[in-house]
Symmetry: C2
Subunit: 340 residues, 2 copies
């Protein structure tokens, strides 16, 4: 598979290879006749510019890196799709990297990406230490963090550009919604104390409850992830203990899914016996038979904001002031929440 180069074309066309370069890069300083001849030869010989060489000389690779925990997770898949779409619209390609939730791997990936001279990196993560990661590389390459993790005690944290959902507002939104539906005993299910994202959501819920004169109640998730399985276990606990609640506000859609399953097995009907509200609006929340009411993290908006910010950083070449963009959550009403 030998590759034909610009020189081969030049030889065939009987011109210098600078002319070929010009003809292909759309320069005006070349006669229409030779251009056409050259283009024809390129086509015929199956020539394609070597992007690597071009990047090297132009000091622009035209690619950005996208680092996600796991692309097979629907939430990140949707983000990846949106980002790739925006990127392409602006002439960028994206290099996909899964950290698989592994710290070592994350380092390797960042190293690789800056070595590959990506022009920017979008780092999607909800790890608490995500901000420090981003901070570590912000001098090597523009980085925007997609996710809302804080970095307690890390003064560098504020210097990283980020886009995140207003999780606190989401907690408020959900609690108020359930209140308006007439619920007074609202359980918060599956909060992971170690996760700042969860803390924020929970804070929003708790503040709202208190200002409404209601008693907050919570079942925490001691594990290290919010999965359907864990949601199931927590919900079984909730239902079996006969918690006197008429609505459950779940820390995530996965937890809500698990709760649905548990409810089925425990003989509690959703939504007749208890209303269920999720958080995230992952794609399967909309599926028939699930129809989960939830607080949406508009993936497309997040992605757009992140890419837009990254583009600005790239263009201003690190001169831009640090920016935090906050995207507002949206209530998505489906079938799992009803008036009491």
């Amino acid at each position: 598979m030998r590759r034909v180069t610009i020189k081969d074309i030049a030889k065939i066309a009987g011109v210098s290879y600078a002319s070929v370069s010009r003809a292909l890069s759309g320069s005006t300083e070349v006669s229409e006749a030779t251009r056409e001849r050259i283009v024809a030869i390129c086509e015929q010989e199956g020539y394609r510019v070597n992007t690597l060489a071009r990047s090297l000389i132009c000091q622009r690779s035209g690619v950005i890196g996208l680092v996600v925990p796991d692309i097979s997770n629907a939430f990140y898949a949707e983000i990846a799709f949106a980002i790739e779409t925006y990127a392409r619209r602006f002439g960028y390609n994206v290099m996909l990297c899964n950290t698989v939730h592994d710290a070592r791997q994350t380092t390797d990936l960042f190293e690789y990406l800056v070595g590959h001279r990506v022009e920017g990196i979008i780092f999607a993560s909800t790890r608490n230490d995500a901000r420090s990661w981003a901070a570590k590389y912000r001098d090597a390459v523009p980085v925007v963090l997609l996710g809302d993790a804080d970095s307690p005690g890390d003064p560098q944290g504020d210097r990283v550009n980020s886009v995140s959902l207003d999780n606190h507002a989401g907690g408020v939104l959900g609690a108020k919604y359930l209140y308006k539906l007439g619920h007074r005993r609202i359980l918060y299910l599956g909060m992971r104390p170690v996760s700042i994202t969860h803390q924020r959501r929970f804070q929003g819920y708790r503040m709202t409850m208190e200002s409404l004169g209601l008693e907050p109640a919570v079942i925490e998730n001691p594990w290290d992830a919010s999965t359907i399985e864990y949601g199931y276990q927590l919900a079984r606990e909730a239902f079996s203990k006969q918690f006197p609640f008429t609505a459950a506000f779940c820390a995530s859609d996965s937890v809500a899914l698990g709760a649905m399953q548990a409810a089925g097995e425990c003989g509690v009907r959703i939504p007749e016996d208890v209303s269920l509200l999720g958080f995230d609006n992952v794609s399967y929340a909309a599926l028939p038979r699930i129809c989960l009411s939830t607080i949406a993290q508009h993936q497309q908006k997040l992605s757009e904001a992140a890419f837009d910010l990254l583009l600005r950083l790239i263009r201003e070449d690190g001169e831009a002031a640090t920016t935090h963009r906050i995207v507002r959550p949206i209530l998505v009403e489906r079938s799992t929440c009803i008036p009491i």
Copy 2:
């Protein structure tokens, strides 16, 4: 953001830059002392080799391209994850590209990827013309097609390397399973006549039915995709026409999902009134409340086979014989099929 190069390091270390290169590429022809000194300086200066330059000189980019219709589709997201994982294990990175089901876009992507000197491309697609696409580029770069599309009348089609599910066997498997459960009136729902994948599945079903002395019955899908919405419409038609069937074998899980919804609205219970069998085993088929019995396309196996094949092609540099790998389907029993 100026980048530090190998020359800067050489200057600081007081050696020629050839030595730096050697120290970093793990060559033995360098004294341990200077190597350590150099490595230390690199670390301190935040130096990273420029992969682009290295690729240029080594004639190896170390990246492969992955072209999918839409990464936000769970099926492709899982494939992407698996492929990225394998690739990384072998030192490759992956460039992600969504065609968004668009022909023009697909061409652009292929052109870009070969221009970027990816070492190979995995092209996931079920379009009927996918094979011709792959054939068009097989002389420029190793390509493996992940998907089973035929190319009727295209003699080039046979020359493309591919990995696919044995869809015919899947059709047989499903039909036999329903038969064993005692079903005799089995409807095939949502077959798209224009799709070769669907034709194969349907053939498997039909042959089995006939050899069992049963009458095949089918409701075709006239649209250009298998979505939940279309599945819903087709199923409503089926239920309202009072087709006398006790089981529906759906052309895809999405169709089955739509059928579930329609069933709910038409007052037919799944699985008590009719058993429902899907095809694909997309991730949400396993969700609680859905629990769809289905024929699985083992994404991980498909991905592994595809990557493995690609690797061989890369290593043998186009000398390898054309290979078609077939992955066997698996029956996944969940809750939507019961004995009659």
